[in-house]
């Protein structure tokens, strides 16, 4: 056909024309995506407006903030010098000052490397789980060891403590291996449980104490010598730091003085503004009073108009009418009084609190802008404002309820004239004020820059001071701990020697005590009617028992300190901020995994009782809010544990959070188990695998893989929920924000801290969420 002779058939294609401008590129995109219909147009406009209004509020505030200041007051000073109130600019200085605290709580700064290392190693430990195909399989052993390693890094203590704790699991495995050959899986499982419990409950503490004692006694003399030397030289070092600190403080005081000078200088520049501002208030009040007076006059006129003169009832009027008339008369009288008092109030405001325009101090500003002087001279004089009002007062005095309507109208008109004059005066004042500010703003630029420099210098100095005071604090703590350790070392032998004696006393008392009282733990438990002798005996017995316990604990503690081979122990209470949130979150998830898996299997199980136990546990935990569980941890857990057990709040919270997370993890894993095709279960059965074998080799590996995104999401939820620990007195980021605001320097700070904390949470949770989405997609791809 190409060779067609027919002329009206085109033989070659025309070149494509460019689409119309409306249909290409950005314009097309905008038309199609933003303005495709009236609803879309409306939505777009509304959204853009919303975005604009939010950003126009936040951005100037955030970017006009102050980064260098030692306290909120200093922030306000700087902001004020830039014509900003404390609500018009952020005081980011608080973040600069305290961000490390928000991250780490009160953890000693020189040991920050420990939690950071633990955090970094976390990713190494996660590698075999997340990238099983890319890393060597042996790394799994590191993953298993990681929880113990991390706990050791964060809390410190002797190196064998985590090893011993881990050994409980090893003991369980050994017991299982041996018993399963002898007596089958049920006995083996129970035996493993028993072995672990025996190890942790009975063997671990004595062995660890023994080790400490062994190492400790060999070190005794050396340690005493070093400690003596150290405590001798420490006071000098502390004094040196003290001197440094004092020097620094003097420097700071000097810098503050310089800063204050700059502020005074700036106030000097702005003194004219302040003078004018003072005038505003009084004049505005006077204006309001004048308006009020005018209103009263018109109200009075209305009443008089209504009653045709002074309100009075006709002689034959009913009681109701009389009452009405009386009320109206009273109102009218009140109004008459109001007019006078309002007018004289306005006059006294003007007379007392304002000055004549000629007295307004504007010399320096008017040098820069001569038009100011013109404005000032064109303003009505003070007398010009006052005299009409004084005249009005005289006229108002003659006003009674008998005054004619025309007179009232006149009066009202005159009052309004006076008020208009005053209004014009205020406006003129405003113009002058604006001009003065404009001229001053130029003059302020240079001192403002100096002020900023000076605050930066101050911040640097204060940072130095913090470093010095921290090292001083460290030395002081070392000294005080060294001293108390020395004294406890000195008394160590004595305490050890006293132990058998004390124990003997306990035995003696126990023998004396009536048999039925020997198991009591408090005098309160005695039945009523117990003789006072018995009571005394019991309390003595309990006291003696307590002595034995506390002395032996203190001996163990001293040896523990003496024989410590490892890291400096850090108290849980020192942990706070995001570190605490991370520890609780990660520990909660990691520790809850085994329990969660068991619960999920139990809930899937056909064994009626096992199934019901798991269902009840999961539903009870999930049915009650976390905050109630946290209160349980802080208020009730001590009741549930053996009398006298008392371990620290962070640990109690971790236990509770672990139980809490286990219920949620169980549901996630149950979802994973349910998602596996039945063929997998049947295949495992057909191979003749036992229940545990099939779970371990076939079902769980697949189910866990599917569940990982869900587990990550549970972790995100848990991590966010760790903020609730603030209600039980732990310093999570929000709790720390409260503590920071209780510092006199930062009292009154609000949004800055919350925005910082929110941002950190967002970054962390958002990236985790993205990662879990990525995992989900990857899993979907693999399953296809």
């Amino acid at each position: 056909m190409n060779n067609s002779e027919i002329s009206f058939v085109r033989t070659e294609m025309l070149p494509e024309k460019a689409p119309p401008a409306k249909e290409t590129g950005a314009i097309k995109w905008v038309r199609q995506n933003l303005f495709s219909g009236w609803l879309n147009i409306l939505l777009t406009v509304l959204s853009l407006f919303a975005i604009y209004s939010v950003l126009s509020l936040i951005l100037p505030w955030a970017f006009g903030g102050v980064w260098n200041a030692g306290s909120l007051t200093e922030c306000r000073e700087v902001l004020f010098s830039f014509y900003k109130g404390s609500h018009d600019g952020a005081c980011w200085a608080v973040i600069e000052d305290r961000w490390l605290q928000i991250m780490f709580g009160f953890y000693p700064p020189e040991l920050y490397w420990r939690p950071i290392l633990a955090f970094v190693l976390l990713f190494v430990a996660l590698a075999p789980i997340l990238f099983a195909d890319k890393v060597p399989g042996q790394l799994v052993w590191f993953s298993l060891a990681y929880p113990f390693l991390a706990a050791w890094l964060v809390w410190g203590g002797s190196v064998w403590l985590p090893i011993f704790a881990a050994f409980g699991f090893v003991a369980a495995v050994i017991a299982y291996k041996i018993l399963s050959k002898l007596a089958g899986p049920i006995v083996a499982n129970l035996g493993a449980l028993a072995a672990a419990l025996i190890w942790w409950g009975m063997l671990m503490a004595p062995i660890s104490d023994g080790l400490h004692k062994m190492v400790g006694s060999s070190r005794f003399d050396n340690t005493v010598a070093t400690l003596n030397a150290r405590t001798d030289e420490l006071p000098a070092q502390v004094a040196a730091e003290d001197a440094l600190l004092e020097a620094k403080q003097a420097e700071i005081a000097e810098a503050v003085a310089v800063k204050n000078e700059i502020l005074i200088e700036m106030t000097g520049i702005r003194i004219e503004e302040f003078g004018i501002e003072e005038q505003f208030e009084a004049k505005e009040v006077a204006l309001q009073r004048l308006d009020g007076a005018s209103e009263s006059v018109s109200d009075l006129a209305d009443i008089l108009d209504e009653w045709g003169g002074a309100p009075a009832a006709a002689s034959d009027a009913s009681e109701v009418d009389i009452a009405k008339a009386q009320a109206a008369a009273e109102t009218a009288e009140d109004l008459v009084g109001d007019i006078g008092s309002l007018l004289s109030g306005a006059l006294s405001d003007l007379a007392g609190d304002t000055v004549d325009p000629s007295e307004l101090l504007v010399p320096s500003a008017s040098q820069a802008d001569p038009s100011i002087l013109e404005d000032v001279s064109s303003m009505v004089s003070k007398a010009g404002l006052e005299d009409p009002i004084a005249a009005l007062i005289a006229r108002a005095e003659s006003v009674t309820t008998e005054t004619s309507e025309a007179d009232l109208k006149d009066l009202q008109a005159d009052i309004e004239t006076a008020s208009a004059a005053l209004g014009a005066n205020i406006e003129a004042l405003q113009t002058v004020h604006d001009k003065v500010i404009a001229t001053n703003a130029d003059a302020l630029v240079e001192p403002q820059a100096r002020l900023l420099d000076q605050t930066a210098i101050l911040t640097a100095l204060r940072d130095d001071q913090t470093v010095i005071s921290q090292s001083k604090f460290r030395l002081e703590t070392e000294l005080s701990e060294g001293n108390s350790f020395l004294s406890s070392l000195q008394s160590l032998n004595e305490r050890e020697a006293s132990l058998p004696i004390l124990q003997g006393r306990v035995d003696e008392l126990k023998a004396e005590l009536p048999r039925n009282m020997r198991n009591l733990i408090a005098v309160n438990q005695l039945p009523e009617g117990t003789s006072s002798a018995d009571e005394r005996l019991l309390s003595e017995y309990l006291g003696a028992k307590n002595d034995v316990l506390s002395v032996s604990a203190s001996v163990n503690d001293t040896y523990g300190e003496l024989g410590r081979v490892g890291l400096l122990p850090i108290d849980s209470r020192k942990i706070g901020g995001f570190m605490l949130a991370l520890i609780i979150g990660i520990a909660g998830i990691v520790l809850s995994l085994p329990l969660g898996i068991l619960l999920a299997l139990g809930r899937q199980s056909h064994l009626f009782i096992v199934n019901k136990i798991c269902v009840v546990f999961i539903e009870v935990i999930r049915g009650v809010p976390l905050i109630v569980w946290l209160f349980t941890a802080s208020l009730l857990l001590n009741y549930f544990l053996p009398p006298g057990t008392n371990f620290d709040l962070v640990l109690r919270v971790i236990i509770m959070v672990t139980l809490f997370a286990a219920a949620y993890i169980a549901e996630v894993i149950r979802g994973g188990l349910a998602a596996l095709p039945t063929g997998q279960y049947e295949g495992a059965d057909s191979l003749g695998l036992s229940y545990w074998q099939s779970m371990q080799l076939i079902i769980l590996p697949q189910a866990m893989k599917i569940s990982i995104p869900g587990i990550v999401n549970t972790f995100i939820g848990l991590f966010k929920d760790t903020t609730l620990v603030l209600f039980i007195g732990l310093f999570d980021p929000i709790g720390l924000a409260g503590a920071i605001r209780a510092d006199t320097a930062w009292n009154g700070i609000y949004w800055e801290l919350f925005i910082f904390i929110g941002l950190l949470f967002f970054i962390f949770c958002f990236s985790m969420g993205r990662y879990s989405l990525h995992l989900e997609k990857k899993l979907q791809r693999e399953h296809r």
Binding site: R76, S86, D97, Q101, G105, A151, V154, G156, G157, L161, P162, A165, A205, T466, S469, E476, T477, S480, N483, S484, S488, I521, A522, V523, L542, G543, K545, N546, D547, L549, S550, A553, S554, D557, G560, E561, P569, D571, R573, K574, S634, L635, N638, P643, G644, N646, D648, L649, L726, F727, G729, L730, G735, G738, A739, A742, D743, T744, N747, G748
Partner: protein, 338 residues
């Protein structure tokens, strides 16, 4: 020394057995640190600084007790407690001493089974209103919205006061002082009520303190003091007499500046007994002879603690008022050291 560490804590379960019954003093000595319950942060009374070092008026009491018992004011573990958790923390033995501006009341002493060892601040519940409201008396507060801190005796006092005066009001319960302050400043409530000391401390940090007035009515007695568990009299004595030592020292003019000089011996037998150069008061308490001296070295006498933390030279600027020495018309009074 810090020893009861994470794993150790589990293994020494049973350590504090019977702690509720007796022997806190021994426990503290054996442990080497005092566990002291404080607030999670209240301006002037207890707050951690940038180094995590606690400071404040209540903190001063803790340090004094630690110094008296252990000879070292730094040997204190501060346990932040909330209004909700403080009593449980003390009852369960988690803390040895609670110094958390806690009001001494009958039910707390008798029913909740605690022992108040004295009063370190005589307070009363007051009201703060913005000046522009023009309110001059709490009687004018009919229909007002009142911000209160929950979990304290404040809300009970408030209910009682308004009921007995037949005034209606709208309570707005707030969890912390900082939140309440923000609510009040934004005008979400007309009145903020809490202990008068707290009101003054809060007002002092406002941008314009002059715009707010404290009403003359003090609607309750709030004797704030440290407390310990019931039934451990030795320990209660230690805490009680440490507090009394701080008070007596002010009365006798013993300050942290002149204590070194005075502890060499003076003509005043009471000072000598207090500082342990005469008599055996320390031994009677089960402490060293220089226990009171150590306590005083920690932060100075009562007056010094007051001035350094909440007194008129601080931003909080509280006057001594009721908390002046009894010799100066106040209520601060200590039984004699004899």
């Amino acid at each position: 020394m810090k020893k009861s560490v994470f794993l150790g804590a589990m293994t020494v379960a049973g350590l504090a057995a019977g702690a509720a019954a007796a022997g806190t003093l021994d426990d503290v000595k054996a442990r080497g640190t005092l566990n002291c319950g404080v607030t999670t942060g209240l301006v002037g009374f207890a707050a951690p600084d940038a180094n995590g070092v606690w400071d404040g008026f209540d903190v001063g009491v803790c340090r004094a007790v630690a110094a008296a018992v252990l000879g070292d004011p730094m040997a204190v573990e501060f346990v932040p407690t909330t209004g909700q958790t403080r009593f449980t923390a003390l009852a369960s033995g988690e803390i040895d001493l609670l110094a958390r501006n806690t009001t001494w009341t009958f039910s707390r002493d008798v029913d909740l089974k605690f022992e108040f060892v004295g009063v370190n601040y005589y307070d009363g519940q007051g009201f703060m209103v913005p000046r522009e409201l023009g309110v001059s008396s709490a009687q004018d507060l009919d229909g007002a919205t009142v911000c209160i801190q929950t979990g304290t005796t404040t809300e009970l006092n408030l209910a009682d006061y308004f009921r007995s005066n037949d005034i209606s009001y709208e309570p707005v319960p707030i969890e912390t002082n900082a939140e309440a302050q923000q609510q009040y400043l934004a005008g979400a409530c007309d009145v903020y009520t809490t202990d008068a000391s707290g009101l003054a401390a809060t007002r002092a940090t406002f941008e314009n303190p002059g715009d707010h007035v404290l009403l003359p009515e003090i609607v309750s007695k709030e004797p704030l003091g440290p407390l310990v568990r019931h039934g451990d009299n030795e320990w209660a004595d230690v805490a009680r007499w440490t507090l009394n030592a701080l008070i007596t020292a002010e009365e006798l003019g013993v300050t942290s500046a002149n204590i070194a000089e005075l502890s060499a011996g003076t003509n005043n037998p009471e000072i000598n007994r207090l500082l342990g150069t005469e008599g055996e008061l320390g031994a009677m308490l089960g402490l060293e002879a220089d226990w009171a001296k150590n306590a005083l070295m920690a932060g100075g006498n009562y007056g010094e603690l007051f001035e350094a933390n909440i007194g008129e030279s601080t931003p909080i600027g509280l006057a001594r008022g009721l908390n002046a020495m009894w010799t100066e018309g106040g209520l601060i009074y200590s039984p004699p050291f004899r």
